[in-house]
Structure formats: structure tokens, C-alpha cells
């Protein structure tokens, strides 16, 4: 090999490393061997996963915990298609990841070659952008562009498909090609008029609510948000993905709105005269039927992505741009209105309708979730899967930082919890990381226990085991006359034995009186990961709940006393 030549795979890895990437998640195959070969003596650290979906969720968790892009490298065909669920998850939640897929050699593409899949074509509706490298000399430029696209503006996943002959080709790395993205790059900045209008609306409002979303976290605008809320004395509800953008412990915090939001957040939205949405997208789990969503409130929407303006809810005032930049400009323009009566009303709602559960008798999921979160502290990182346990975690985990709460919101991807915790722990080795998972979700990616064990990551995995796909069971119970179909997870493994098979310490807790003792032992466990199986009450439902198609003020605040009585109510 001529001294100054490198394979294009090496150049790609070099560019990643130069841009601060330290870990690559993935599993190799025939068509990605040249890339893995380049990893052999490379300073990039390979995290070998057991499944490609796990690799993408790890990169996702890594990105959310660190604010830096997560990188995945897998092979072609099924290796590539296995990443699609993870890519969709990152797309829906605006997470910057780069997915590099191997591909059949160039002359074989389109000929149904072994392990060939048109992953580029399949990626189109699920990525921010995607590439196939056709000229090895473009490798460095494309990786640089991909990093730029993934992390600029509204973040998102970028896929790079690399045919095997291209990744193996030798190129001169000193020939650098410039970034060439004529259709990308204009990040909007807030106009003076829109900011003045927003300030005027805020001053006039007597019952305002801020709804803070993921955009606040992505733009690192938590400080500005707190300044806004405190200066104007406006309560803040944080969406599932915006959790932590405003401290859960703050007296102005209302918790989560929407389908399983707190009663006081939903009552505040329903009763408000102004909703200020910052970096959120009026998701249907919050707004329900858009025409019926808080029709009497005016709405201001801060967003960096013009697509989101008016997509679901028409707004009186749109402030386009980065949340931090917009709020920084807005703050000195603001004059506080009078919200004192409103805040008193909200305090009454908080007092009258608290989130609650029973700590005695049968073990409740909420109990062990809240205890674990309290023991881990507000500096710890929590990840979740999707379902009932996720909603309970959203209720009872207290987040004070956005990057400490990692969950799959938009896509609602089961199997996200464990791998995203692995990614988060690698991103922040000193942090305590715990993952709250359901028995159903956990089994979708449990093979990554091996990845956690091999890398000796001290993650605490709490399995909320009700031997049901609980959220679906809840819907079938409440809205389908208790016709339970396909939700009984009979045949679950013994999770403690399963952990032990991976060389992982397992705990089991069945009684509420044992919660503290068991969790203490788990928190003190310092030899790699541990798993806590909580065998919980099987038939608990998540409340409050806004039934599908209902408005926020029609929420069911507590479990109905009679079973199956919801529809009669």
C-alpha cells in the first residue's frame, strides 16, 4: 500500500474521530468487513451489540445523554433493515445519529445479490437524509456532511450506505472535498415582529401556560426557559420528551400534559387563555382532536422547523428559530402580567388531584419506580421502554435536566430502554444509569444484556413485571369490555435466572415492604449491571387518562370504582 493512501473506510472513521465521535455501535457482516477491518487498530471504540436494533438505540441513548451524535455501523441486507426501527425512533424524536450500512459490491447492486437490500430507498421516509457512496473519494466529504446534517437545526438520523468495493478502495486522504449542500443550512432566526407579538400576548394573558418540548433540551435552553417562567410567573408543563427541560422539582412545574398527563397540567391547559409551546410539536397524545384542543386559548409556537408551524394546531403567533436564541432575545422585551390568581388556582388543582398510589399491600409499579428514582437522585439518568411503566416513570421520576430522561416518545418503540441505557452509560461513565422496562418491552432487546455485561456497565435494569402487555390490556379492559386478546405474557422467563445466565446479578421483589431493602442492595451493587424484577399488581391501570377522542377536561382522573364503568360514566 502506498504510504499516503488509506481505504475510504479508514477515512470515514478518521473523520468521525476528528469530529469527536469515540464509540461506534454495531455488529459486522460480509459487506461491512472492510469498515470493521479499519476499526481494528483505530482509536474509535467498537461496542459490539447482539442485534442491529440494539445498536441504533444505543447510539440514540448515547446522543441524548451527551448531546453528541451517536454512530452505528452494520452490514447490508438484514443488518441494514434491522436498523430501521431504531432510525424511525431517532427521526420521530429528533435525535442525531449516523447509521453506516455495508452494501453489496457496486457491480452487484440491483441484481438481488446475497444480503443486498435497497436500504437507501427504504430509508427515505424515515431519515433526515441518506447517502450511498458511489465514489470512494467522496467518503470523507459525505461523513462530514452527514454529521453536519444530523446535528444542525432540528437534529435527526442520517444513513450512509457503503458498497463493499467502495469501503475497501484506496484513496488519497489529503484530497479533501468541500461540503456541498445547497439545499440545506438556513436555520431560521426569530423576527423582531414575532418576538414583539409574543411578548404582547404574554403580557396580556392572565391564565398562561408554557408547554416545553424536546426542542428546549436540544437547543440547551433550559436556563432561558426557567428565566421566562420565573420572570412572567407562568406555570410550565413538560411534554414526555421535554421532561427535564424545566425542573420537575420547581414549584411552577406541572409535569406532563396529555393522555396520561397530570390532572393539574391538563386542567391548566384546558383553563388557560394562552399556551406557549416551546420546541414541542402538539403531538396527538396531547392535543387529541386538534379542533377541540383548548379552543379558547391563544397559542404561541416557538420552533426551529417551519414544518411544525400550524401542522396540527393553528397558532396566533409563530416564532421561528432556535429556542435558546429566541428566548434570549425575548427575555428583555418582556413585562410581567398578573398571574397570581391563576397560580393560586393551579395550586388548588395540585392539592386536589395529586398523582397517587398505594404503598401498602400488593406491590405497585409506581412505588418501586418512585423509590428507585429517589435513591438514584436527580443527577442519575433514567431510560424507559414503552407502555404503562413508561407513563408511571414519567409521573414519578423527578428530572431536573433534559439529558437525564431518555424515552422513545414519537415512535413509541418497545425494546428501547435497555440499549439506550447502555448508550447513555457509555456517554457518561460517571453517571448512575437506571432503566425502567416492562416485561414485554424488555424481551424485545434483552440480548443486549450481553453487551452491558461485557462492557461491565453498572446499569440498574428495573423490570416492571405484570405478565401483561399492560397498556394494551388497559385499553382492552376500559374500552373493549375487557376482551383481553394477545396481551397475556404467559411463558415469561425467570428474569433473575436469565440475568444469571448472562453473569448478571439479579434481584426479585414481590412485596411493597421489601422495596427499599432490595433497591438498596441493587444500588450498592458495583460489579457491572444488575437487574431487579418487580413482580407487580397485574391489573393496575395508568391514571389520569384522557380517552382517545376526548378532550383534556374529559380526563378520567382516578380508577373507576366499578370495573368496566368508564363508558357508562
Amino acid at each position: 500500500m502506498p504510504a499516503n493512501m488509506k481505504t475510504s473506510a479508514e477515512v470515514m472513521l478518521d473523520v468521525l474521530y476528528e469530529n469527536g465521535v469515540r464509540h461506534v455501535f454495531g455488529i459486522p457482516g460480509g459487506n461491512s468487513i472492510p469498515i470493521y477491518d479499519a476499526l481494528t487498530n483505530h482509536p474509535l471504540n467498537l461496542i459490539l451489540t447482539r442485534h442491529e436494533q440494539g445498536a441504533v438505540h444505543m447510539a440514540d441513548g448515547y446522543a441524548r445523554a451527551s448531546g453528541k451524535p451517536g454512530v452505528v455501523c452494520v452490514t447490508s441486507g438484514p443488518g441494514a433493515t434491522n436498523t430501521l426501527t431504531g432510525i424511525l425512533t431517532a427521526m420521530m424524536d429528533s435525535v442525531p445519529i449516523i447509521v453506516i450500512t455495508g452494501q453489496a459490491v457496486t457491480p452487484n447492486i440491483g441484481l438481488d445479490a446475497f444480503q443486498e437490500a435497497d436500504i437507501l430507498g427504504m430509508s427515505f421516509p424515515a431519515v433526515k437524509h441518506s447517502y450511498m457512496i458511489t465514489d470512494p473519494q467522496d467518503a470523507g466529504r459525505i461523513v462530514r456532511e452527514a454529521l453536519h446534517i444530523a446535528t444542525s437545526g432540528r437534529p435527526g438520523p442520517v444513513l450512509i450506505d457503503v458498497p463493499k468495493d467502495i469501503s475497501a478502495a484506496l484513496i488519497d486522504p489529503s484530497v479533501e472535498k468541500k461540503r456541498n449542500l445547497p439545499g440545506f443550512g438556513d436555520i431560521p432566526t426569530a423576527s423582531e415582529e414575532s418576538l414583539e407579538e409574543a411578548a404582547a400576548l404574554m403580557k396580556r394573558a392572565t391564565r398562561p401556560v408554557i408547554m416545553a418540548g424536546h426542542g428546549v433540551i436540544l437547543s440547551n435552553a433550559a436556563e432561558e426557559l426557567t428565566a421566562l417562567a420565573e420572570k412572567m410567573a407562568i406555570p410550565v408543563t413538560t411534554t414526555l420528551l421535554g421532561k427535564g427541560s424545566f425542573p420537575d422539582t420547581h414549584e411552577l412545574c406541572l409535569g406532563m400534559p396529555g393522555m396520561h398527563g397530570t390532572a393539574y397540567a391538563n386542567k391548566a391547559l384546558s383553563g388557560s387563555d394562552l399556551i406557549i409551546c416551546i420546541g414541542g410539536r402538539w403531538d396527538d397524545r396531547i392535543t387529541g382532536i386538534p379542533e377541540k384542543f383548548c379552543p379558547h386559548a391563544r397559542k404561541i409556537h416557538f420552533d426551529i422547523d417551519p414544518v411544525e408551524i400550524g401542522k396540527i394546531i393553528p397558532v396566533e403567533c409563530a416564532v421561528l428559530g432556535d429556542a435558546k436564541a429566541s428566548l434570549t432575545k425575548l427575555l428583555p422585551m418582556l413585562e410581567a402580567g398578573d398571574t397570581s390568581r391563576w397560580l393560586k388556582q393551579i395550586d388548588r388543582w395540585k392539592h386536589d388531584y395529586p398523582l397517587k398510589y398505594r404503598k401498602e399491600g400488593k406491590l405497585r409499579a409506581q412505588h418501586i419506580i418512585e423509590e428507585l428514582a429517589d435513591m438514584a437522585g436527580t443527577e442519575a439518568i433514567a431510560t424507559t421502554d414503552v407502555g404503562q411503566h413508561q407513563m408511571w416513570a414519567a409521573h414519578f421520576v423527578k428530572s431536573t435536566k433534559g439529558c437525564n430522561w431518555i424515552t422513545s416518545g414519537g415512535a413509541g418503540t418497545m425494546g428501547f430502554g435497555l440499549p439506550s441505557a447502555i448508550g447513555a452509560q457509555l456517554a457518561r461513565p460517571e453517571a448512575t444509569v437506571f432503566s425502567i422496562v416492562g416485561d414485554g418491552s424488555f424481551q424485545m432487546t434483552l440480548c443486549e444484556l450481553a453487551t452491558a455485561a461485557v462492557n461491565n456497565l453498572p446499569i440498574k435494569v428495573l423490570i416492571i413485571n405484570n405478565r401483561y402487555l399492560g397498556m394494551v390490556r388497559q385499553w382492552q379492559h376500559l374500552f373493549f369490555e375487557d376482551r383481553l386478546t394477545g396481551v397475556d405474557l404467559e411463558g415469561n422467563p425467570d428474569f433473575v435466572k436469565l440475568a444469571s445466565a448472562y453473569g448478571i446479578k439479579g434481584f426479585r421483589v414481590k412485596r411493597s415492604s421489601d422495596v427499599r431493602k432490595t433497591l438498596k442492595a441493587a444500588m450498592d451493587w458495583n460489579k457491572g449491571p444488575c437487574l431487579i424484577e418487580a413482580v407487580v399488581e397485574r391489573h393496575d391501570n395508568v391514571f389520569p387518562m384522557v380517552p382517545a377522542g376526548a378532550t383534556l377536561d374529559e380526563m378520567i382522573i382516578e380508577a373507576p370504582r366499578r370495573k368496566k364503568s368508564v363508558e357508562e360514566d
Partner: protein, 166 residues
């Protein structure tokens, strides 16, 4: 149900494989049927110009345009429904035509400034250029004779005067 309207959208895009698919996916996902589509290299080889006619609601159109503009390969996408722009379309009509009908058909074709491209024993093939309504009108005039084949290029447009086409 919102009323569907026909829109003409022009796009300036990167001239790369796959771009058309990305764009077509946005139309399909928003429930817009593409009525006609013209794609060709623009002034420089790096860019292509697309003109797409599609039917759908105004509200969806606005959302779709922002979604099109969000694509990395789209330099810009603009709707021209309300603009006064130059519009042209070319169509080839193969019309059933026995020798006794030729004069009649040629007279009508002349009125539309049609060009006769081919004459056979039973058919005549005419080329019509103009805006889409002119092509529609000619089609209506030929219908009684029997149109055996019709190919339309789809609409292309350009702004008037020194203004650059968006």
C-alpha cells in the same frame, strides 16, 4: 372534507439519483395525486428543475411545501397557483381520420396552430403546444372523430420578464 384543487409546483433540486423518489414520497404521504411531472436538467448540470401538477387541499399543500423544502436535496419548492407565469405543454394527438375528414380536422388543427406530424390511411397525428387549457380544448374538438392515442408532456413554467423562476 376539504376541497381538492389542482396546483402547479416548481422545484429546484439536486440532480442526483433518488431525489425524485424522496419528493414523490412526500406527495404520496400527504395524499396528493401527481397529475403530471416534468423533470430535466436545469441551466447547470448539478441541478434539476421539476414541474409537478398535483391535486389536493390548500392546507395540505402548505404543509407539503414545507416538507418538500425540508428535504436536503430540495433547493426550493414553490406553488404557482396564483402567479402569472408562462406555461406550456406539448401534446401529440393521434386521431381517427379517413380521407374525407382530413380537411375538417386540418382546419381545426390550424385554428389551434397545430402541426401535422404524420398522416396515414386512417389516422392523422397532430402536435399541439400551448397552455394546458388549449390542449384540453383541442382534445374536446377531436373527441367526436375518435382520439386513438394521446400523449401529453405535462406542464412546464417560467416566470415572466427578468424575474427568476422560483
Amino acid at each position: 372534507m376539504e376541497q381538492s384543487k389542482k396546483h402547479t409546483i416548481s422545484l429546484n433540486v439536486s440532480n442526483k439519483p433518488g431525489v425524485l423518489t424522496r419528493i414523490a414520497l412526500v406527495f404520496a404521504r400527504r395524499g396528493f395525486n401527481i397529475d403530471s411531472l416534468v423533470v430535466s436538467q436545469g441551466l447547470t448540470p448539478e441541478f434539476s428543475r421539476m414541474t409537478i401538477e398535483a391535486t389536493g387541499s390548500d392546507k395540505t399543500l402548505h404543509l407539503m411545501l414545507t416538507q418538500l423544502n425540508r428535504l436536503v436535496d430540495v433547493i426550493h419548492a414553490v406553488d404557482h397557483a396564483a402567479d402569472d407565469v408562462i406555461q406550456r405543454e406539448l401534446a401529440l394527438f393521434k386521431v381517427n381520420c379517413t380521407p374525407d375528414k382530413r380537411t375538417e380536422i386540418l382546419q381545426i388543427s390550424d385554428t389551434f396552430r397545430g402541426q401535422t406530424i404524420d398522416i396515414g390511411d386512417d389516422t392523422i397525428t397532430v402536435q399541439i403546444t400551448g397552455n394546458s387549457s388549449k390542449v384540453d380544448a383541442f382534445s374536446k374538438m377531436m373527441a367526436p372523430y375518435g382520439i386513438s392515442e394521446l400523449v401529453r408532456t405535462g406542464k412546464v413554467l417560467m416566470s415572466r420578464g427578468s424575474e427568476a423562476t422560483a
